[in-house]
Structure formats: structure tokens, C-alpha cells
């Protein structure tokens, strides 16, 4: 007997799983999403946040490019508040790049990407930081910045309002089968270890780079190639728009400005396991060197942290490797392919096309369940209720509130000054049972993502855990220490220049003014081993964004 029952279990709380959950909910299908960590804690939350115009793929991967064009336009309609409409540039800085230009222009035309060549002078007028090495500039207005955390939370909240359920820190450890039909999943709470069986009619495996591990529980193979990408966060934006190198996609060829920071991307290294993502100093150096070819100030801006994510590339059987592999996606109907009914996997793809991926796999599962309600996710906005703005905890900038030097906001308290997070942005999440660590709170509010890397807000948030959530001081202090440690793991990779000053202040505050090292010691809490109300060690990957 299952402990609970639903129509469909969605495994994976990234953008794809969240999109699937919402799609199911909009079609009136009962669903539960299970995620072994926090929402957006895997690939989605470690992306660089580029909303692809398709320009990066239009030469080598036309199908993926066309999807990006359409999905980008849809997202600007349905997920307006998660998108910063920056536009983008493709810039040539070498003769090799110039040779790529005709192919790029041709690709844009074929994919339907708006692309306009502008003079370097005009480009520099718009983006004064463009480097002197830049020879040619194309304006691609449909590149943008997509906040991956808000996207996932927005989808999940929209689905929850329609009755869908979400269980984070819940790992699928097995399946219940009825003959050749999947009849449920066995899940384990990764904090308490408690096992639960969820009965269902179908399971959708939306675990991206982890899809092979989930499929193996049913003795079927899904070949996903995990390809690591390292990114560096700079403490300033440097540019208004996304800056892409106009060449065959390679390492370190994109700078994505988002809110107050810029992210340098990225590398591509095939890895053995999606959770073992070491950040090499050579990768960090390369990102900075390559970024500096396109933008001045990349070498002198303060690098705040480095982090690594993993692309879930699907092996379509071609001979390609790593970046050469398609960014396209595939729906795997395991009933047809492996004779296992009630199980489907969605693999490959990217955050920009999450909605389409969700639509395709939901189409399949809905058909099998005999549900004929069509997909409406391209039309119904995420913000489909009046209180949605509030639900999504929009950043002050998006509410049109003046920046801190404007009078109105200057008088309002901020819980995290770096990211302009107000107490009311944090309050609803502090008591949300899905929030188990301060990192979870960060993903929902951006608190702690700015230049001080939680040195200040971690104390205030620990206070909230005591006053609002009723945790004891020990647990709250431990959560604060874990938060700082997670931030520290990213800071360490860019430990030069003025970063030393910040680190000295952070360490001085917590070790000297607060004596937190002795507090942890007194309680026997080793901050190198996260625990308690926090993430178990095996979920923790290297270098969170």
C-alpha cells in the first residue's frame, strides 16, 4: 500500500521538472514533484543565466537555435518578471572570428534570429567597456538574462496553486512495479532518512544530468553525458547587454550581466559524475583572459566567486563530444523503447527551452493517461494571479522601486544590502518547510549573492531562523556557518586582489567579533561537515553559484 497517491510523479526540481509540474497542473493532472536537494540546486541554479536568442547555436545546431528563438519569445510573455531584457552582442576580436561572421549571419537568418550589424563606434557608444580588440559587432536584441531561481520557483508556485505538491530533500531510491508498469516510487527524506511510497500512474524522469541514475533503478539505460562548465562572478556588471564572442562556441566566450553582477562563462569538460565538479585554477584564469578580450575591466573588476555547473547532454548516438554535442533534447518513451509502461525521461536541452521540453514529455504522458486537455503553458503567464508579484518575491528593481540612493528605498530596511533584499522578501520563506538551509533561502531571495557573500546577512538570517521559525540558537548558528562555508567554497577560487580585504573582514566579523569558531567548537559542530537542518554531505557539490 502506498503512503500517498497521485497521478504523476515528477522526479527533479530543476527548470524542466518544475515546468513539467506546472504543465501537468494546468492540464488538471494530479502531480507530486520530488527533488533530492533543493529546487534549482542542480544544473538550473548553476547556469550563467543567459536567455538564449539562439545566436550561439545557429551555425552548428540549427534545430536548437530555432527552439531558442521561439521559447525566448514565449518566456518574455509568460515569465516577464524573471527576464531582464538586456539584448546581446556578438563581437569578433580576431581574424578567425571574422571568418565565422558570414556563417553566423546566415545561421541567424535560417533560425529567424533578429541580428543587426552595427559599427564598432556605435557599439562602443552603447557599451563603453567593449575592448579595443573588438573588430565587428552584431546586435542581437533577443539575448537576455533569465533568473533561473525565480523561473523554477515561479513554475512551482504556479503549479502548487493548482494543487500540485512538491517534496524537496526527497530522493527516489526505487520504484514500485506492477508487472511491466510503474505503479509508484519509493522515496527517502535525505535529512531524516524516512521512506515514503508514492503510488502513481506515471513517472516522469526530469533529472537532467542525473537521469541515468534514476533510469538504472528500473534497469534501463539513459545515456547522459555530464559536461562541467565553470563560471566566474564579477562584482560589477561591466556591460548592459550579454556579450558573446562571434565564433564557434568555445571556452570563455560569453559575459552575462545580471542584476548587479556579471558572470563569465564557461568551460566544457566531460566529467565522470555530475556531483564531482572540481574548479581548476586554469579554467578560472582562462575565463578571465578570454573575457578580457571582449570587455575591458574583466581583469580589474573584483572576482567574487567561481562555481561549476553540469550540462546534461544527451547522447543521441552521434560521434560528437562535449560542446560539439547537440543542445537539443529528447523525450524517451520507455514503454516503447524498453517495455516499461508509465515511465518517461526527458533529457538534454537547456534552461531556455525548459518549457518546450516539459510540453513534449507531458504530451506523451497525458496521452498515455488518456488526458486530452492541450498544453497551455505557452499562453498562461506564470504571474496569473494578482498576488503573484508578491508570491515571487520580486527584487526591488523589478518593482520599479528606486535604487538605494533614491529616497524611498533608502529609508526602508534591507536584510541584504548587496542584493537589495528586504525583510518582507525573506519573511514568507523563513517559515516555509521546504527551506532547510540558508542556501535554500538564498535561491528564493538572492540574499547572500552579492559582493560580501553573506558576511552580513547571514547573521540577520540566523536571527530570523530563531525569531520567525522558532529554531534554537545552536541550529541557527550552525545554519549561518554552513551558509558562510558554502559561499567560502566559491570565494576561494578567486582569492586575489581586493578579495583578500573582503575575506579578512568576513573572517574578522565572524571569528573575532562573534567568536563563531569557538561557538561551533563548543557545540561540537564541524562546519566542514554540513548537517542538521541543512543539506547532507552527499548532496553538496563543489562551488555553488
Amino acid at each position: 500500500m502506498p503512503d500517498t497517491s497521485t497521478g504523476v510523479v515528477v522526479i527533479g526540481g530543476g527548470s524542466t521538472g518544475a515546468g513539467v509540474l506546472r504543465d501537468l497542473a494546468l492540464r488538471g493532472i494530479d502531480a507530486i514533484l520530488v527533488e533530492k536537494g533543493d529546487l534549482a540546486s542542480g544544473t538550473t541554479g548553476r547556469s550563467h543565466g543567459l536567455l538564449h536568442s539562439g545566436g550561439r547555436y545557429c551555425v552548428n545546431d540549427l534545430a536548437a537555435a530555432i527552439e531558442c528563438v521561439e521559447e525566448g519569445r514565449i518566456l518574455r510573455r509568460i515569465a516577464k518578471t524573471t527576464v531582464e531584457d538586456t539584448g546581446g552582442y556578438f563581437v569578433s576580436v580576431s581574424p578567425g572570428d571574422e571568418a565565422w561572421e558570414p556563417r553566423f549571419v546566415d545561421g541567424c537568418k535560417k533560425a529567424g534570429i533578429t541580428c543587426e550589424r552595427i559599427s564598432v563606434e556605435e557599439a562602443r557608444r552603447r557599451e563603453p567597456a567593449l575592448s579595443t580588440q573588438v573588430r565587428t559587432v552584431f546586435w542581437v536584441p533577443e539575448d537576455g538574462h533569465l533568473d533561473p531561481f525565480y523561473l523554477v520557483i515561479g513554475n512551482v508556485e504556479s503549479a502548487r496553486r493548482r494543487g500540485a505538491q512538491v517534496r524537496t530533500y526527497t530522493e527516489v531510491t526505487g520504484f514500485v512495479k506492477n508487472g511491466n508498469r510503474v505503479a509508484g516510487v519509493i522515496s527517502r527524506d535525505t535529512v531524516t532518512g524516512e521512506e515514503t511510497t508514492i503510488g502513481c500512474q506515471a513517472v516522469i524522469n526530469a533529472t537532467g544530468a542525473w537521469a541515468g541514475f534514476v533510469a538504472r533503478l528500473l534497469d534501463v539505460e539513459v545515456k547522459v553525458v555530464p559536461v562541467k562548465g565553470v563560471m566566474v562572478v564579477l562584482s560589477r556588471r561591466l556591460a548592459h547587454a550579454a556579450i558573446n564572442r562571434c565564433h564557434k562556441p568555445g571556452d570563455g566566450d560569453i559575459v552575462v550581466p545580471g542584476l548587479s553582477v556579471a558572470i563569465l562563462g564557461t568551460t566544457a569538460v566531460k566529467v565522470a559524475h555530475p556531483e564531482v565538479l572540481p574548479i581548476e585554477s586554469d579554467e578560472v584564469r582562462l575565463l578571465i583572459e578570454e573575457g578580457a578580450k571582449m570587455l575591458d575591466g574583466v581583469t580589474t573588476a573584483r572576482a567574487m566567486r567561481a562555481y561549476a555547473g553540469v550540462r546534461p547532454l544527451y547522447d543521441l548516438g552521434a560521434q560528437a563530444e562535449g560542446r560539439e554535442m547537440s543542445r537539443n533534447f529528447a523525450v524517451i518513451d520507455h514503454e516503447e523503447r524498453d517495455g516499461i509502461a508509465g515511465f518517461a525521461s526527458i533529457v538534454g536541452g537547456k534552461v531556455t527551452t525548459y518549457r518546450l521540453m516539459a510540453e513534449r514529455v507531458t504530451d506523451l504522458v497525458a496521452r498515455r493517461l488518456g488526458v486530452t486537455t492541450p498544453c497551455t503553458t505557452a499562453d498562461v503567464p506564470l504571474n496569473d494571479r494578482e498576488d503573484e508579484m508578491d508570491q515571487l518575491r520580486h527584487r526591488p528593481a523589478q518593482l520599479g522601486v528606486p535604487k538605494p540612493h533614491g529616497e524611498e528605498l533608502a529609508l526602508q530596511p534591507l536584510l541584504c544590502e548587496c542584493e537589495l533584499v528586504r525583510p518582507q522578501d525573506v519573511e514568507p520563506w523563513v517559515t516555509d518547510p521546504a527551506v532547510r538551509t540558508l542556501e535554500d533561502l538564498r535561491r528564493r531571495t538572492r540574499a547572500g549573492m552579492g559582493p560580501c557573500q553573506a558576511a552580513v546577512c547571514s547573521y540577520r538570517l540566523a536571527g530570523r531562523l530563531v525569531t520567525d521559525r522558532g529554531l534554537d540558537g545552536r541550529t541557527a548558528t550552525r545554519a549561518m556557518a554552513d551558509f558562510l562555508e558554502t559561499r567560502w567554497r566559491g570565494v576561494r577560487h578567486v582569492f586575489w586582489g581586493s578579495q583578500l580585504r573582503q575575506a579578512q573582514v568576513t573572517a574578522g566579523l565572524h571569528l573575532e567579533l562573534f567568536n563563531v569558531d569557538r561557538q561551533l567548537q563548543f557545540e561540537g559542530d564541524d562546519p566542514r561537515r554540513p548537517s542538521l537542518f541543512t543539506v547532507p554531505a552527499d548532496v553538496e557539490a563543489v562551488g555553488q553559484p
Binding site: Y459, R474, W496
Partner: protein, 422 residues
């Protein structure tokens, strides 16, 4: 410009060195590069809180602890400075604080155990009188007091932690909050706002009245965030104790830390008012050495470089906090002699994987002689008339042993003595 002795730095080591020179009748110039740890990280002068970075046992007698540390680690900055420099420097500092209008107390013979903003007991040596009533070696119960809408001190967090840590949980610790008179709850409230308000007698009386009603336990001491006045803090504290009818103690908060601000502001103002020339916000670099002596250093003042000639130089720059070191991806160099202070294949080597462990980067600095001169690989001084104080000394890591103030005082005082003799 030309001067007797040039002191470069804006932390406590630089101030103590300058004051030592001033008291000895010399004519120092203080070259002040910018904000220092004094502003961010100071509340008390901690001399030695723990014998090493990992022990849980606080040091009871700092002077005995430092003597032992010197015996065990002859290369430690305390050993280079010497116990006498710590003792004489501390006396000089306390006298200076008094003269500058501060009310401080403490002796090297004894550590207080004061609760921090996380409710953690911390050993401190020389402290503002406004913090003394927090000593956990006293028995009275404690009520931590916070303010509605003020986020930089959380009484509930402090109370919960301290009630476990203090004497095995056998003491009473409570938390209360009161609204801030006359301030709307949706307004940004910083420590400085509150400190300014506390200078007002009506405000103070109002808060005292609210706290008298909120704290039920008659025997309790009141632990408040350090916001009891910005410039008249000694009076504010005394009067607030009278008005609330209980012992009151301040607790250092997140920056802006009023305790650090008071020190930072008034010490440098006092030193200026008593005739020491200060050059503001001018990072110094480039030592010109001839015949084993430094002739001049250069200031990056607005628009042009300005040379400063002196008979002796004290480099009391604070490694990381004031950005003195030139920290590249693989090398760390000093700005005066361009010495390679550290080299790393990977910048991660500069840190421990945990923030709460001793950090290799903190120890980066000039190797120094027994006279605190920066030395080369063979132990020869880079210049016989240059002396180093504070965080710029190699192996200087006060965080784990809680010795930031004491190490600054000892090395600042000693460097000044050596500079006068040079």
C-alpha cells in the same frame, strides 16, 4: 616632504606607534591609507583569548599566556615585539584613551569573558567600561535587549546560545525586544541611527522605561547592542544604567560597529588635535633604499606622486584589510620593496577550505628581525631604518587566538622604540 619619522597605516598598530613617538617628544607624520580593521573589527583590545587557534579553553591571565606563547614560539610576532612592549604599550594606550575622553578598563593580568552578538562567550582584556558588566564570571542573570526593526543584534539568538554555553546552562538568560521610540517600524535603522538617538536624554529615558517594564527579572543585567551614544558614550552609558536601574553592558554588532567607529574617529581626531600631522587617504609605496637605509617612500596623492623623506619609517599597513599587498593570482608582493612575500600555484592555497580555520593568507607578510625590520632570505634587513608593525608581519594571525588588539599594541609600540633608536 621631509619629516622625523613616517608612520604608514590606519589601524591600531599605526596609532599606537604614532602616539608612542609623540609621547617621547618626537615629531611623527601619520600617513593614513584609508579605513582599517579599527573601523570594522574592533570593539575591545583582545590580548590573548586562547593559547592556540584550536583550544576551547580561554586564557585566564593574558600576561602569563603571552609569556608562555613567546617561550613556545620564538618566531611569533609577540616574541619579536617582546612582553615589555605589550606591557608598556598597553599602559600607553589606556592612558591615551583616558586622555581622549574614553572610559576603558582592564589589565593584562586578567581576561573578562564577554558575550558576543551570537551569545558566545569571548575572552577580552582591555575593554570599554560600557562592556564590563557583561562579564560572564559574574553570576547575575542576563537579559539581552533588542529593538524592533533593528537587525544587527538579535537578542533571541544570543540568549539561546548563551543559555547553553554559560556555566553548563545553569544561569538565566532571556531576550526582550522593545520598540524604538519615535521611529516607524518600516524605517531603516542602523547602529549609528540608534547611537545618535541615545545621545538624547528623552529618548534614553523612554527606552529605559520600556525596558524596565519588559524585563521581569529584577536581578538581571541588561545586554544591549553597542549603540549607547556616538560621542558622549561614557556619559550615555552611566546615565542609562541609572535610568534603567540595572547594570547595562554593550555588545559589538555587525558593521557599522559603533564601538569601532568611536575608536577610529576619536583617536585619530585626538592625535591630530595634539599636533601630529596626518596625511589622509594616501596609499604609500615604493621605498628608495641607498647604503642600507631607506631615504624616502612615495605617496600616491591626488594627481601626482609625492616623496616623503624621513629618518625612519614604520610600516604599519594591514596586509589584507587596507589592501596593502599586491595580491596577484599566483604571487603576493609588498608595495614598498617589491618583495615576493608568497607564491602559490593556485589561489585556493591561500585559504583553508573552512572559513573557521586559520587562513594561510592571514600569515603572509614581511619576515622581520628581532628589531622588527623587514629582512631578506639571509636575515639581513632590507633597510636598517624601516620597521614593521601589525598585520604586515609574517605569521601574524590574531583571529584564532583572539589577540588582534594586543599584537597591534605590542608591535606598534616596539616598532616606535626601534624607529627612535635608528
Amino acid at each position: 616632504m621631509r619629516c622625523d619619522i613616517a608612520v604608514v597605516g590606519s589601524g591600531l598598530a599605526a596609532l599606537v606607534a604614532t602616539r608612542t613617538l609623540q609621547r617621547a617628544g618626537r615629531d611623527p607624520v601619520l600617513i593614513w591609507p584609508g579605513l582599517s580593521s579599527l573601523y570594522f573589527l574592533y570593539a575591545t583590545v583582545d590580548v590573548l583569548g586562547y593559547a592556540n587557534a584550536t583550544t576551547a579553553q580561554p586564557v585566564e591571565q593574558p600576561v602569563t599566556g603571552v609569556r608562555q606563547l613567546i617561550a613556545d614560539h620564538p618566531d611569533h610576532p609577540y616574541a619579536r615585539a617582546g612582553l615589555a612592549a605589550l606591557q608598556d604599550g598597553s599602559s600607553l594606550l589606556l592612558e591615551w584613551l583616558r586622555e581622549a575622553g574614553f572610559n576603558w578598563q582592564g589589565t593584562l593580568a586578567h581576561n573578562l569573558l564577554l558575550p558576543t552578538a551570537t551569545g558566545t562567550p569571548k575572552p577580552s582584556c582591555l575593554v570599554p567600561t560600557s562592556m564590563v558588566a557583561g562579564d560572564l564570571q559574574r553570576d547575575e542573570p542576563i537579559a539581552f535587549c533588542g529593538f524592533d526593526g533593528y537587525q544587527d543584534f538579535i537578542p533571541e539568538l544570543a540568549a539561546s546560545n548563551l543559555s547553553r554555553a554559560w556555566n553548563g546552562g545553569r544561569r538565566t538568560v532571556t531576550a526582550v525586544r522593545v520598540p524604538v521610540p519615535g521611529i516607524k517600524p518600516d524605517r531603516l535603522l542602523t547602529s549609528i541611527d540608534l547611537a545618535r538617538s541615545f545621545e538624547d536624554a528623552n529618548f534614553r529615558r523612554d527606552v529605559a522605561g520600556r525596558l524596565r517594564r519588559a524585563v521581569r527579572n529584577d536581578g538581571a543585567r541588561l545586554g544591549l547592542p553597542a549603540v549607547l551614544g556616538l560621542t558622549h558614550d561614557a556619559d550615555v552609558h552611566a546615565e542609562f544604567e541609572k535610568e534603567s536601574g540595572r547594570p547595562v553592558f554593550e555588545i559589538p554588532t555587525l558593521p557599522p560597529s559603533v564601538l569601532g567607529l568611536r575608536l577610529f574617529d576619536r583617536l585619530r581626531r585626538h592625535i591630530q588635535e595634539t599636533g601630529v600631522e596626518m596625511i589622509w587617504a594616501a596609499p604609500a609605496h615604493q621605498a628608495e633604499v641607498a647604503n642600507g637605509r631607506c631615504l624616502r617612500i612615495h605617496l600616491k596623492s591626488a594627481g601626482r606622486e609625492q616623496p616623503v623623506e624621513a629618518r625612519a619609517f614604520i610600516l604599519a599597513v594591514e596586509d589584507a584589510v587596507d589592501g596593502a599587498w599586491r595580491a596577484g593570482v599566483q604571487t603576493v608582493r609588498d608595495p614598498f620593496f617589491h618583495r615576493l612575500l608568497a607564491q602559490h600555484a593556485n589561489p585556493t592555497e591561500r585559504t583553508d577550505e573552512s572559513l573557521f580555520q586559520p587562513q594561510p593568507f592571514a600569515a603572509i607578510g614581511y619576515p622581520v628581525s628581532d628589531r622588527l625590520q623587514p629582512i631578506d632570505e639571509d636575515g639581513r634587513p632590507l633597510a636598517s631604518n624601516v620597521f614593521v608593525a601589525g598585520g604586515a608581519i609574517a605569521g601574524y594571525d590574531p583571529a584564532g587566538i583572539k589577540a588582534r588588539g594586543g599584537m597591534a599594541v605590542a608591535t606598534g609600540y616596539r616598532a616606535a622604540q626601534e624607529a627612535m633608536a635608528a
